[in-house]
Subunit: 390 residues, 2 copies
């Protein structure tokens, strides 16, 4: 990973920032324009007797940059070109174009599918030769689609590809979902025990039409979300209560980003352990793997409310509710002390060193120890007194 | 596993069948009564100078029975007793009682928590000595809670323990959710792209108040559910559209059971592979691990609409959309040919032998190959012509 404080990514590699703002076009409309432009450019190259080429931003770790000013991970300037008339690049070039052509069709038909659905469309067209592993949805990198996202500066959701969805929300918010030809209004105060299932795409044909909240609380675990939902925490606090159910899906990250853009403080509540910290930092700065998504999927404004190991200084009884840290927790704490964007915060250094010293962890569930409703009191107190880690 | 066609499980080990029926009490009220009765019995035993004992049904495989008449897996007659005044049983006896006492308190307070929350309540009370692994929520068997469920003939949801929830629903149904002091009405036709997130407990304080559907379609994958939801399949077909998102959660299984009890046919749509078949058979007959839940969590009436390997006889182009079966798929097909409740169906024997012969699998996503909306046509045709496997 490189460090780089200067040099913006090139204009057409920049994530699309127009989503959800009044008067600007939807992401899928923009994607369609850019897909068409890509096609036209190639036709021109052919007419000029040149080999058509596809250019995208390099997504490997060597081109991942922590943007000091913005406070998030993004890609640097390195670009790569794939040419049709190059023996080693010809196949992947063709496949990239096939993906581009199919997604263009999906947008024009106004239909959506998963990466797996796209794979079968390609297989139907291209026959048995199609390399299955190239499109394996289990794999982390659906390389061709990511190439296209990075090259066009759009999200895969704009290409009408649905992604895994996870996470629920409740609170004083109304969302208009224009879906399959009908407008549906989702009232975050009327979702009962379930909450609103956060969809894969929270940008296209979706709008926040009412928002009357003081802040957003992101709670790592669904069980803890259910606890707080039962206490009507979101009502008492006028807060948007979100759980990503572990690591955040793309839809959850986009939703949090949009709520931050509306001026709401973003407060994150996780376990004090490797997985919990990872969830927080992915929300805040993004992750290496998804650095190509840049600012659209990160929330540098986010603050960490807990659980912290230093909470046991304030709440004495928590001491007996700590449990033994796993090796991965200790290792992760050590790693984090080396990340420049973490070690610059003395509060985090203090916290992580406490983990290394005590070899303990503290789960958010532990805050139900004395009584089930204690967790709400804990959060209220820390939030009102602004006891956050940066 | 034993085979047994006679002999009902003992009355108080029988799952509570009163849920959701008008005029009968809620599961948590019943659980409270039974927890109190358990306590009173122990006090009596102590007063009589006897060692208090806790009796439950044996949940090991040796006591799992396929109920031929009912068509589901359940526990047999074997019971076990734990005595307080027995050195090897004393600790676990105490812990079982501690769980019983805590869950009684949760019901009385009308608050819910997860197994992890329960663990921390016990830890707070009992201190650092509490054996952490005994309550590890990652483990398959939360033995003490399952003991209590089996002993009292109630579900853990009735004990106010929330469980992992997963799965969404849409369709012509209205559900009244009495939650945290408020009634919320969930209209399955107004859930937009998201669908209704199926909660952990669909019995207590929850009621189906409107239902105008021809059948229930259970779709293995969320991506496929989203595709069908976008096509408004549930509206065109007047169907309840559910995805468990893979293996069904307890809440999903209960919801399907309740819809079957309302007389709706239950039709299941999965991949033709090991995981897909497992999902179907777990919905239909239950599973060995959860046999103690019995009829309340199984739907013997369920039918399998596909995808089947024999579909390629009807839909020729599907041939080129098959992919190589994995070892686990082939092994699973072999295993299934030995299950008495599967091998008695010639249709399944034909199907599974086809898998062994071709060593291929067919995913439900493949039905989007020719065009994204094909999957709906396929389902409509097979459902209307009743082309099901039993």
């Amino acid at each position: 990973m490189e460090k780089d404080t200067e040099g913006e990514p090139k204009k057409d590699a920049e994530p699309n920032k127009s989503k959800g703002k009044a008067g600007e076009i939807d992401g899928d409309t923009l994607a369609l324009q850019r897909l068409k432009a890509l096609g036209h450019r190639m036709v021109e190259e052919i007419e000029l007797g040149e080999s058509p080429a596809f250019e995208t931003v390099v997504r490997s770790k060597g081109n991942v940059i922590f943007d000091e000013e913005g406070g998030f991970l993004r890609l640097g300037q390195k670009r790569e070109r794939r040419r049709f008339l190059n023996l080693s690049q010809s196949k992947i070039f063709m496949q990239t174009l096939a993906v581009a052509a199919k997604t263009k069709k999906f947008i024009e038909e106004d239909l959506h599918t998963s990466i797996r659905g796209l794979y079968y469309q390609l297989k139907f067209t291209m026959g048995e030769d199609l390399d299955e592993n190239l499109f394996d949805e289990q794999s982390e990198s659906n390389a061709l689609i990511e190439d296209l996202e990075a090259a066009l500066g759009v999200k895969r959701e704009d290409l009408h590809l649905t992604t895994d969805r996870k996470g629920v929300m409740a609170g004083p918010i109304v969302i208009k979902d224009h879906f399959a030809g009908e407008d549906v209004y989702i009232d975050g105060r009327k979702q009962g025990r379930s909450g609103w299932a956060i969809p894969s795409d929270v940008d296209n044909d979706m709008e926040i039409v009412e928002l009357d909240a003081n802040y957003v609380l992101v709670v790592e675990k669904d069980a803890m979300w259910q606890r707080l939902n039962e206490d009507r925490f979101w009502q008492k606090e006028k807060a948007i209560l979100i759980t990503p159910k572990g690591q955040s899906s793309r839809g959850v990250r986009r939703l949090i980003r949009k709520l931050a853009d509306r001026g709401l403080p973003i407060i994150v509540f996780t376990d004090s352990d490797a997985w919990g910290w990872y969830i927080y930092w992915t929300i805040k700065t993004g992750s290496m793997n998804l650095a190509y998504l840049g600012r659209d999927f990160s929330v540098p404004e986010a603050k960490f409310v807990g659980v912290t190991m230093s909470d046991i200084e304030e709440y004495d009884f928590l001491k007996k509710l700590t449990i033994k840290a796993k090796e991965v927790d200790v290792k992760r704490a050590k790693d984090m002390l080396n990340y420049p964007w973490i070690k610059k915060h003395p509060e985090w250094v203090h916290e992580l060193k406490l983990v290394l010293k005590t070899k303990k962890k503290l789960e958010q569930d532990a805050l139900q120890g004395p009584r089930l409703t204690f967790v709400g009191d804990y959060l209220r107190e820390k939030i009102h007194e602004k006891k956050f880690l940066p």
